[in-house]
């Protein structure tokens, strides 16, 4: 039997419309919008000012806090201004706006397609390089990668787990990347293994991508320690804790990090970015973005520069369909609905999903009938109906007692609720409020 996590989970229709579409590089537009807050943690601080000339790959913003990341210019040109611009959060945030002039790369970046297998850097140097290249978790959480690679004192990593699950419906960016860049990814995995000092790596891939499993198996054949693990299709397997449970059958305790059970999880896209940074000296300035949707005429996988407005990607995929009702940054289960097509692609944009008005409409709301389906599907073993009720009645004490902070916001509960209740909305509110209360208690 195929491995999976044991508790809860749902299986939404996969709808991988853009599967097997070759990654197509798209030219950067005339104006590019690079938000300063692209990663989890503190926003970066701009190091350029209005009128500065920048080259592709040049550092334009520094992550100064512990959990923060560098940002590099995705194009060459002139800094137009540093102003507020709408981003995926739905708010206007500080953004570096650059007018493109040609595409002149910073010196020392290897743009050839040759595969460089030899790893010359030491673990310390790798972490430094990853930090300097501004790499963050590309699965969508955008946690700065170099922080994850620094194993805290007293802890020891045993496994590197590569997240190639892509359990979100519709998205195919990681799938296609594996088909096209398997060898590079495997070198990236080795670099990561060296950085954290482990000799075992597991690449977890869901069974709905048999070609990717086969392809990766071929690529890892010559490397000891790296195995490809086929997993049963189950959402949310791509969640860190669930993936660890599925691959090595260990449970990360509540409120703790994966290193507690000797695991470090990295996304497959991150592994590729690490390869490019360490072996090719190329910072993170572009990423694979799936543009898809049932009514999109050409569902595609694009290689897009960071800062490209979403509108351009949609245009390349055939334009906004007639009855479009919702545009989602990410997948349908955890993605964020955006309120404008001016939103730029950031490091965390794994896909752009367009939904028709009919699809986007929420289902009718009934009273909770206490069917307990939410409890059955919750991968964290929580009771979403109770947390939802606590959120509705603003009872943060109950929310905290019932471990609202353990919720991973996978949305399985709301997806399955026959009463169509806004469970996750209320739980998110609970998490936000309880987080505030907990922080104020600490101070």
């Amino acid at each position: 039997m195929l491995k999976t996590f044991k508790l809860g989970g749902v299986h939404p229709p996969e709808n991988k419309l853009s599967a097997h579409k070759a990654i197509e590089a798209i030219e950067a537009p005339e104006k590019i919008f690079v938000p300063l807050g692209q990663n989890l943690g503190a926003p970066s601080v701009a190091t350029v000012k209005r009128g500065d000339k920048v080259k592709t790959g040049q550092l334009i913003a520094k992550g100064e806090a512990f959990i923060s990341a560098m940002i590099h210019s995705p194009v060459s040109g002139t800094v137009d201004k540093i102003d507020t611009h709408i981003d995926a959060s739905g708010y206007r945030r500080d953004t570096i706006i650059i007018t493109r002039e040609g595409d002149e790369w910073e010196e020392g970046i290897d743009l050839s397609a040759d595969l460089r297998k030899e790893i010359t850097l030491s673990p310390q140097e790798i972490v430094e390089k990853v930090k300097a290249s501004g790499i963050v978790g590309l699965g969508g959480a955008t946690f700065p990668t170099h922080v994850k690679l620094m194993v805290p004192d007293g802890k020891k990593a045993e496994y590197l787990i590569i997240n190639a699950v892509e359990c979100e419906p519709y998205l195919t960016a990681d799938h296609q990347l594996m088909l096209e860049k398997a060898d590079e990814i495997v070198v990236g995995v080795q670099i990561l293994m060296k950085a954290i000092g482990v000799d075992k790596a597991i690449i977890g891939i869901e069974n709905n991508k048999p070609d990717a499993i086969e392809h990766m198996n071929k690529s890892v054949a010559n490397f000891a320690g790296i195995t490809v693990q086929a997993l049963k299709v189950m959402y949310p397997q791509g969640a860190e804790k669930q993936l660890i449970k599925a691959c090595v059958n260990r449970e990360v305790p509540s409120g703790k990090l994966p290193i507690e059970v000797g695991c470090v999880v990295q996304n497959v896209g991150t592994a590729f970015a690490v390869y490019e940074a360490v072996q090719k000296n190329k910072p993170l300035i572009e990423r694979v973005v799936t543009v898809t949707g049932k009514n999109v005429s050409i569902p595609s996988n694009f290689m897009a520069r960071i800062g490209t407005p979403v509108s351009l990607l949609i245009e390349k995929a055939g334009g906004i369909p007639e009855d479009n009702g919702k545009i989602i940054n990410g997948g349908p289960m955890m993605g964020k609905a955006i309120n404008s097509t001016d939103v730029p692609v950031t490091k965390g944009t794994s896909g752009i999903l367009l939904m028709s008005e009919k699809e986007a409409k929420r289902v009718r709301e009934y009273n909770c009938v206490r069917c307990a389906r939410c409890t059955t599907v919750c991968p964290m073993g929580l009771e979403p109906f109770l947390l939802g009720l606590a959120g509705e009645s603003l009872d943060w004490e109950i929310a905290e007692k019932e471990q609202v902070m353990d919720c991973i916001e996978c949305g399985s509960c709301q997806y399955t609720c026959p009463s169509g209740r806004p469970l996750l909305d209320n739980i998110r509110l609970g998490k936000f409020k309880v987080g505030q209360i907990m922080r104020s208690r600490k101070n």
Binding site: K361, G391, D425, L429
Partner: protein
């Protein structure tokens, strides 16, 4: 022996034993409480609204008696009369406080700030505010989902369906501040009620650049500072690109209102403006 007599004896003895236990417990664990706590608590309205900053009326009474002071303590529901009563019980001096009332400092109605997108989901401003800027596009404006109305214990608020903004019913408002706390965007403020309930305030809290703010909302404060110059009492400050009228300093002269290019200053309960000359006269009167 007659069973009735047995029953009487058994029950009687049991009753005596329990009476003794209760008596002992009462003696042992008696809580000696200041009788004034009960008196103060009796005088309070008993709404437990939390407007005083304490968990309930009883907690407020306990705090007053414990501190032997009325400093910083004020029950907005009871107002000055109640404060004087409590001061009498405590044998303290009561401080007069100007009566206050809540005002909604946003005029981004559906007409002034048309919807840029739809919101669907939990009817909670706190959640919607975390999700995105709000249908009007203003990151500081009213979301119109009524967290404040929900929080009001005194039926002093309702949502106006036409504007999508909350309305405060002045007669019912006791200035408990529950709505102020419930608003995730700090739009609602408690302001002095003013003479004849006349109030003047900037009905905008948008801190964006003027051009951006104006694009989203017809009546946004663009931070031009014209009102600051117009004010003869230094009551208006411009901070974070938004003007604010200090109600302690404002003399309700109405000079600022016509200066505002976007109409972001709202006047309440004033007589309609007459020709200029008469306005000045009216000011003297006030």
């Amino acid at each position: 022996m007659d069973p009735i007599i047995i029953a009487i004896i058994v029950l009687g003895v049991t009753a005596l034993i329990f009476a003794a236990i209760i008596f002992g417990v009462e003696k042992q664990f008696k809580v000696i409480e200041d009788p004034r706590i009960d008196e103060v608590s009796e005088a309070l309205p008993g709404a437990n609204c939390g407007g005083c900053g304490f968990a309930g009326c009883r907690a407020y009474a306990e705090a007053i008696v414990k501190n032997e002071s009325l400093e910083g303590m004020f029950c907005p529901v009871g107002g000055n009369d109640l404060n004087a009563d409590i001061a009498a019980i405590m044998g303290l001096e009561a401080e007069e406080k100007a009566p206050q009332v809540a005002v909604v400092r946003c005029n981004g109605s559906l007409k002034n700030s048309p919807q840029k997108f739809n919101y669907e989901g939990a009817q909670s401003c706190a959640f919607a505010s975390n999700l995105s800027a709000g249908p009007g596009g203003c990151p500081n404006g009213c979301l119109g989902l009524g967290d404040c109305v929900e929080s009001c214990d005194f039926d002093a608020m309702y949502m106006d369906k036409e504007t999508g903004l909350p309305v405060i019913i002045e007669e019912n408002c006791v200035a408990c501040g529950a709505c102020v706390k419930s608003c995730p965007r700090s739009i609602i403020e408690l302001r002095n009620q003013g003479k004849k309930s006349r109030r003047i305030y900037v009905s905008c809290v948008n801190t964006e650049k003027g051009a951006v703010a104006k694009k989203n909302c017809e009546v946004a404060c663009i931070g031009c500072g014209k009102c600051v110059k117009a004010c003869t009492f230094d009551a208006i400050v411009l901070e974070n690109k938004v003007a604010y009228i200090d109600f302690e300093k404002c003399r309700l002269c109405r000079k600022c209102q016509p200066e505002c290019p976007t109409g972001a200053i709202t006047e309440l309960n004033f007589p309609p403006r007459k020709v200029k000359a008469e306005v000045t006269e009216e000011n003297k009167e006030v």
